[in-house]
């Protein structure tokens, strides 16, 4: 029983090892998320300038 747990713990220490393809895919996803967030920040910044003091006025 003890041996079994120890073996599993050793395997867990290694963690999930990604292949090169998985690393590339993860990197491309991370870059896309970063770009999307940056675009959102720029969009809100520009729209704040465009709306000026009326930025909080949102007609229904």
């Amino acid at each position: 029983m003890t041996v079994g747990i120890a073996m599993n713990d050793k395997q867990d220490d290694d963690g999930v090892v990604l292949t090169e393809a998985q690393k590339r895919a993860r990197r491309s996803r991370s870059i896309a998320i970063a770009l999307a967030l940056a675009a959102l920040v720029i969009l809100f910044y520009i729209m704040t300038l465009v709306k000026g003091p009326g930025v909080l006025v949102r007609p229904i």
Partner: protein, 322 residues
């Protein structure tokens, strides 16, 4: 000893866990898979019809506000597409037309697609509400809900009227565009809604006629599968006969000029001829339905493009100059 093997089995089970649990192999999906999940071709039509709604609306709108509205509508359409593909992953795998989508190919798990769709939906609606107006945001939220829940979850697998009622989701974008520009609605955007609404059944049933085997294999009760070939052809003709006068209505009611009137009448006449050919054709011949399907896309594009040129282009230019 038995615990050792149970531990190994459990670990094996983790690796081979069903996609929904999120414990399976790390994803290989890249950005292209996520773009495909957003149905870019559908998105382009949504953006185009929303642009027309926005451009023909009265009043002034800052170009940046207009751009933001279109961006949010595009992302909202992508959200609806991702939710649809996430939920329909099982039946998409059974149809030739959809088997290459990211979920049936195993590139993206169904749960990941739904999470991606929910995230896009939340961001697009919130951004439209914060930066443009709340009414347009509410319409966008309703449209996403209608497509993802009413159409995809409820209607698609349960009734041959699925694309008739569900077609409303695709008809909302011009109304959202108009609402983004004005904060309200009027007869003109509702007429554009009706044109797309009545365009949808002939368009999709023409496709379903020559993809009937695909839909039958996936168990989707499309009209040609459930009611039969002849009934579907009759319904296509009926809906086309309703669509064509609606297409001319913006000119008849004075919303559009003579160029639009001529285009709508000419293209409408071709639609009727093609629908009549579909009505007269019998399986296994599929040429007429393929022609109608292809021309129906051009028909809708022509109507909205001419409306944009006649009514919206001047307004858009004026706004850009201002």
């Amino acid at each position: 000893m038995s615990l050792v093997s149970e531990g190994a089995d459990f670990r094996g089970a983790l690796v081979a866990a069903p996609a929904g649990l999120g414990l399976a192999e790390p994803s290989l999906a890249d950005v292209r898979d996520y773009i495909a999940l957003m149905k870019p071709r559908v998105m382009s039509l949504v953006v185009f019809t929303a642009l027309v709604g926005l451009a023909i609306a009265p009043g002034s709108l800052h170009p940046m506000t207009g751009f933001t509205a279109l961006l949010c509508i595009a992302v909202g359409a992508g959200a609806a597409g991702a939710l649809n593909m996430g939920y329909d992953g099982d039946i998409d795998a059974l149809m030739t037309r959809t088997a290459r989508r990211p979920v049936p190919r195993g590139r993206i798990k169904r749960g990941e697609a739904i999470a991606f769709g929910m995230t896009l939906a939340a961001f697009s609606v919130a951004t439209l509400g914060l930066l443009v107006n709340a009414f347009a945001a509410a319409l966008l939220a309703f449209t996403i809900f209608f497509y993802a829940v009413v159409y995809t979850v409820w209607l698609k697998r349960s009734t041959p009227q699925n694309i008739v009622i569900g077609g409303a989701a695709g008809a909302f974008p011009p109304m959202i565009g108009w609402a983004a520009a004005t904060g309200s609605l009027s007869l003109e955007p509702m007429l554009l809604f009706l044109i797309i609404f009545f365009w949808t059944p002939p368009h999709f049933w023409a496709l379903a006629l020559y993809r009937a085997d695909d839909y039958a294999r996936a168990g989707i009760p499309m009209l040609p599968v459930v009611a039969g070939d002849a009934s579907a052809r009759q319904q296509i003709l009926r809906y086309t006969l309703i669509l064509v006068p609606l297409g001319v209505a913006p000119w008849a009611l004075g919303f559009a000029g003579p160029l639009y009137g001529l285009t709508a009448a000419g293209a409408g006449a071709i639609m009727v001829v093609l629908a009549w050919q579909v009505f007269c054709e019998r399986r296994p011949a599929e040429r007429a339905s393929k022609r109608l399907f292809a021309f129906s896309i051009l028909y809708l594009f022509l109507l909205f493009a001419v409306l944009l040129i006649e009514r919206g282009w001047g307004g858009l230019l004026a706004r850009l100059v201002v």
